[in-house]
């Protein structure tokens, strides 16, 4: 039995249900793996911990991973399973505000953690929507402060994952119908979201481990798609403080908005489209002002995926 340490991108909430589903159902164990799963503190942090060897595999924003690779030549991380086929990055504002289109963000204040993936990718969003990014003012706050600041009018907008913003705002009493959301996926073509990430050399040395993990995860994900309530139950076993209905809504939103997209229905779960990946790479390069252009093969390696038949969804 092989020990495998896995880090999530963020807190133990509904979007991480497939990982726990696979654990509870014994799918990892069936593939000879003894998996431990820890919460994460943002994609950037997860990427760092995987690169440093603290974790073998993890879940995180593929764009953050690309940035890491570009800035640390020789430290190759690679995505092996695309989970959020449609990126959940977004800007959220209150309907009651004067912001009706992305262009209206000029002169306004957006609150977000410094490392928030959506904030870091904002230059790409700005370019796609002809926003003068220099006219947007950012307020750096940590995760727990973001939604309260919007609700209290201390910020005009927030950046973040759609399913995080909507549901966090609901918890502090702001209805979804009072929100306007600008998803990045609407205006930026080719962008991807969170993937399962590992070190290239780890995968090369342990192909069977990575393959086994992905197969188990794939089964877990399909179970969750079939029975989201069971997925939420698996999460709630670890996070006793989470709210069942809210997490169920969060999970459904994640699945419908980011996982079960058109591409997935055509290609199956986990896989990326080479042309989208290529444009993704160039979007990231200009957004982060990266020094090098990454080769698509160094960003995503499809060889560890389960067979296409297993990845098929309706």
């Amino acid at each position: 039995e092989t020990n495998l340490k896995f880090t999530l991108d963020w807190a133990i909430e509904a979007p991480s249900a497939p990982f726990f589903m696979a654990l509870d159902k014994g799918y990892y164990a069936a593939n000879g793996l003894n998996v431990t799963i820890d919460r994460g503190f943002g994609s950037g942090d997860a990427v760092n911990k995987i690169a440093s060897g603290t974790y073998d595999l993890g879940f995180g924003d593929i764009n953050a991973m690309m940035e890491f690779n570009a800035r640390n030549p020789g430290q190759k991380l690679v995505a092996v399973y695309m989970v959020y086929n449609t990126p959940p990055h977004s800007i959220t504002v209150l309907k009651s505000s004067s912001i009706k289109t992305p262009k209206d963000l000029e002169g306004k204040t957006i609150a977000a953690p410094v490392g928030d993936a959506s904030r870091r990718l904002f230059p790409a969003f700005a370019e796609a929507n002809k926003i003068d990014a220099s006219k947007v003012k950012w307020v750096s706050v940590d995760g727990a402060l973001r939604e309260p600041m919007l609700a209290r009018g201390q910020a005009d907008a927030i950046s973040g994952f759609t399913f995080t913003s909507i549901l966090n705002l609901r918890q502090i009493g702001v209805k979804e119908s009072d929100l306007t959301i600008f998803p990045y996926s609407k205006s930026i073509s080719g962008l991807y979201g969170n993937a399962i990430i590992t070190r290239a050399d780890y995968a090369a040395k342990n192909p069977a481990v990575v393959r086994g993990f992905l197969a188990a995860f794939n089964k877990g994900l399909k179970d969750v798609i079939k029975d989201p309530a069971a997925g939420v139950a698996a999460v709630l076993r670890r996070n006793t403080l989470a709210n069942r209905e809210l997490e169920l809504d969060r999970l459904k939103l994640t699945l419908s908005g980011s996982v079960l997209t058109g591409d997935v229905k055509n290609l199956g779960l986990g896989l990326v489209r080479p042309d989208r990946l290529k444009s993704s790479i160039s979007v990231v390069k200009s957004a982060f002002d990266l020094p090098v252009t990454l080769a698509p093969t160094s960003v995503f390696n499809a060889t560890y995926l389960p067979p296409a038949a297993d990845r098929k969804v309706k």
Binding site: A11, I12, E13, D38, R39, F41, D45, N48, K49, S52, G53, T54, G143, A144, E147, P148, R152, N168, Q171, I172, G173, N239, T240, L241, A242, N243, L246
Partner: protein
């Protein structure tokens, strides 16, 4: 003279009732703590502060009680890492404090380094600790240790360096070893300041455990507060805050008794 005392009664013993003494010790803190909570509760109610901004203490206690079983485990974990880190801090703090306090060159060489080290937010070091020691109990213990040893060093060093030479000379003249001089003069003379530093250090040890748990653990009050905060259960976050406070106060009460017994002599000039 022995006979004298018995016969003409120049010495009498008056023991104040144990109950009276305990009341006098316990009444002021009880009142002040109750007053504090009353004020907090009132502020929240009068200004109708929303719970996600500042919950009432009653709501916080209610949240604590509601999740009591889950919380017990977290609390024990935090208590354990805190005590472990604090224990190490006391050992290392006394040793380093003795070195710095008894040797002026060591003082000059080490103080700037220690100051520099302590100006660094320990939260910035947690990621490094996690890379080296993995997620879990160890980084929390180390963080608690790192954050709490410096106040002990400073006070032990200051205490030792300011011991008057006269009582030390008494011991030295008697052929006492340096260790005996340390034990019988420097140490008792330094105790009031050592205990003062413990009060600071124990609170910092809690802070250390919790900041480490906030970013690198699966158990502990920090984890619970994190979970509660990311699901916007702010009353529970403050419940965690209260829980940590009470554990801090309990530990303080524990060594306040010891302090009174060992350092009472130093407080002879105190007003009542």
């Amino acid at each position: 003279m022995t006979a004298e005392a018995g016969t003409n009664g120049t010495m009498t013993v008056s023991t104040p009732s144990a109950l009276g003494l305990t009341l006098r010790n316990l009444l002021p803190p009880t009142l002040s703590i109750l007053a504090f909570f009353a004020l907090w509760e009132l502020t929240c109610r009068v200004f109708q502060i929303k719970p996600f901004i500042l919950p009432t203490p009653s709501a916080s206690f209610a949240a604590l009680i509601q999740y009591a079983p889950a919380i017990r485990e977290h609390a024990l974990q935090t208590l354990f890492t805190t005590l472990a880190g604090f224990g190490l801090a006391v050992l290392a703090g006394v040793a380093l404090g003795a070195l710095v306090g008894l040797n002026r060159t060591a003082y000059r060489a080490l103080y700037p380094l220690l100051i520099g080290f302590n100006a660094v937010p320990k939260a910035a070091l947690v990621p490094v600790l996690v890379i080296w020691f993995g997620v879990g109990t160890l980084p929390a213990i180390i963080t608690a240790f790192l954050i709490s040893f410096f106040p002990i060093v400073v006070n032990v060093a200051t205490g030792l360096a300011t011991v008057e030479p006269e009582p030390r000379d008494v011991l030295r003249a008697l052929g006492a070893t340096p260790w005996e001089v340390f034990k019988k003069v420097s140490l008792p003379r330094t105790l009031p300041y050592f205990f003062a530093s413990l009060k600071v250090a124990v609170t910092l040890a809690f802070v250390g455990s919790i900041i480490s748990e906030l970013s690198a653990s699966n158990r502990g009050i920090g984890v619970m507060m994190n979970q509660a905060s990311s699901s916007f259960q702010v009353p529970l976050v403050f419940g965690g805050v209260l829980l940590v406070s009470f554990m801090g106060i309990a530990l303080y009460a524990l060594f306040a008794g010891l302090e009174q017994r060992l350092t009472g002599w130093a407080y002879r000039g105190e007003h009542d």
